[in-house]
């Protein structure tokens, strides 16, 4: 078991270094700082380079057009009855294009889905909850800060910077959680959709090792069982047949929540700016409607991406053959890589956000 682990780490190491290098390079630009001291950029970095640079530049330009069209269509509400449909449409498209561009949200959700072997359906639910939450947080911030407290833009930016730090801390926690599970529970993992043969194989495997170095494995299993009662994987050291009830996994649900909240808790600057603008024009209700339409657009993009990622993995696995040991090994390495990506992303974002000190 030790041997295999070190072999695995050896294989994953170059992957991690490459990722760290690529994430770190743009890390400084992720700092919570903003050109005018108000409204924090959603994320940034060396824009429009790399193989998809042209495409993303195009998306950013479309997104900019829809964003610019937003304030106009808000004001049109005064003159026409069709204006609300137009506003909703523009907001929706803005959400769609906005989500194609930047944001750590997609990275976290997709990596989470792949690493913890979630289904497409759960991916869609998580994408929906995160997008909805993002809209609601923006609305709550504006209602509380601007409407009730008459806060200034600087104060509101500080408030959202705190949400951002919270979000990054949660991403880091989810990443650490995934890495921990992937690295140290690797022999004991039961995906919810696992075929029975595979489970049998694993248990045979674990059992075999248990026979060879019994004291070690025994302690190992016990340690986990005591630390995390109720965890889906804890029982594996002792049970040779997966208990269907354990596959319900309360911890996995709370992990899904953590991933969702880590993405959803950070309001988008665009939504807040549009809401404050709507408020200044006495069109707050329309602004709130616009933000929900944006959230729906974001949900469409993120869930499409999540579906694509999960399906691509399934197809790839079908090609290699689900039962082949190689596929399983490749999967594990990729999953550990993915878990590390989430962890590194969280750490980089958090480090960047805290670089300039805490917002006060």
């Amino acid at each position: 078991m030790r041997d295999q682990l070190s072999k695995l780490i050896f294989r994953v190491a170059p992957l991690v270094i490459a990722t760290a290098a690529s994430v770190g390079r743009s890390g400084a630009a992720w700092a919570v700082s903003t050109p005018f001291g108000i409204a924090t950029p959603d994320s940034s970095g060396p824009a429009f380079t790399g193989p998809l640079g042209g495409l993303f530049a195009w998306v950013a330009l479309r997104q900019a057009e829809f964003y610019k069209a937003l304030d106009g269509s808000l004001l049109d509400l005064r003159g026409s009855n069709h204006a609300f449909a137009l506003l909703a449409g523009v907001s929706f498209l803005y959400g769609v294009f906005h989500a194609v561009g930047p944001g750590h949200g997609k990275a976290v959700i997709t990596s989470y889905l792949l690493v913890s072997r979630q289904t497409v359906r759960r991916g869609i639910v998580i994408a929906f909850a995160a997008a909805l939450m993002q809209g609601i947080v923006a609305i709550a911030v504006v209602l509380l800060a601007a409407v009730l407290l008459h806060a200034t833009a600087v104060q509101m930016t500080h408030a959202t910077d705190w949400f951002e730090i919270l979000s990054y801390a949660l991403v880091t926690a989810v990443g650490a959680w995934l890495v921990w599970t992937k690295l140290f529970r690797r022999g004991h993992h039961h995906p919810p959709d696992a075929k029975h043969e595979r489970d049998t194989h694993h248990h045979g495997h674990a059992h075999h090792h248990g026979g060879r170095s019994h004291p070690h494995d025994h302690n190992h299993g016990h340690g986990h069982a005591h630390h995390n009662p109720g965890d889906e994987q804890c029982d594996c050291g002792h049970s040779h047949v997966p208990n269907p009830r354990l596959l319900k996994k309360p911890l996995s649900v709370s992990r899904a929540w953590a991933a969702t909240i880590s993405v959803g808790i950070r309001p988008c600057s665009g939504a807040i700016i549009i809401l404050v603008f709507a408020l200044s024009q006495n069109l707050l209700i329309a602004g709130i409607g616009s933000v929900f339409a944006m959230s729906f657009g974001t949900f469409i993009t993120v869930s499409a991406l999540a579906t694509l990622a999960v399906s691509a993995k399934d197809v790839a696995l079908r090609f290699v053959g689900l039962d082949s040991g190689n596929a399983e090994r490749v999967m594990r390495v990729a999953e550990i890589g993915g878990a590390l990506v989430v962890l590194l992303l969280g750490l980089t974002l958090l480090g960047g956000a805290l670089q300039g000190g805490l917002p006060v």
Binding site: G37, G45, V276
Partner: protein, 211 residues
Amino acid sequence: MALLVLLIPLATALAHPHVFVDAKAELLFDTQGRLTAIRHVWTFDPAFSAFAVQGLDKNHDGILSADELAPLAKTNVTSLNRYSFFTILAIDGKKIPLKFPDVYFLRWQGNHLTLFYQLPLKQPIAVQQKTTLEVYDPEYFVAFTFEKKDPVTLLHAPAGCHAEYHPPKPIDAHIMAELAAIPIDQHDLPAALRDAAVGLANIITMECTSS
């Protein structure tokens, strides 16, 4: 799948504009005909303007006075300092150092907020060939365009000096195809293509021909 997971964070390292600026630049010369300062006049879009002044009308008289806007102006230039004011002044490709603004203020007009500020040069310079002023945000959080009417003005410039404004290049399908043809492992784009890809730089060229 590993590739996919790795690609996603890279693809997300992109900003998108939440601030739209209609800019004007004024170039200030001294009595010896040397360039001494750049004056920026940046008008923000209505949405960002409304957000920026939220809660600043302290006496609730519906008017945003210079006093009420002064703290925000200070916040603006202090924050812009970290972004080098999105301003690159260069002679023959060599960057000319600039100082912190000595004058800055905000004005509210109609439904727009306008930031005025003056960036002095560390050393006044005689404008020779190939002097360029670039204004853009490479991260594209701020989208700069220059106003159609008088994008650039020369103040007290010697005779024989003139400036020309070159708007950002639009990104077209041809450039996208060229970009797509570049191998994945090639990170350093050819300079011409990179400029086209960024496509955001507003460039003012200046020239003084001695008479």
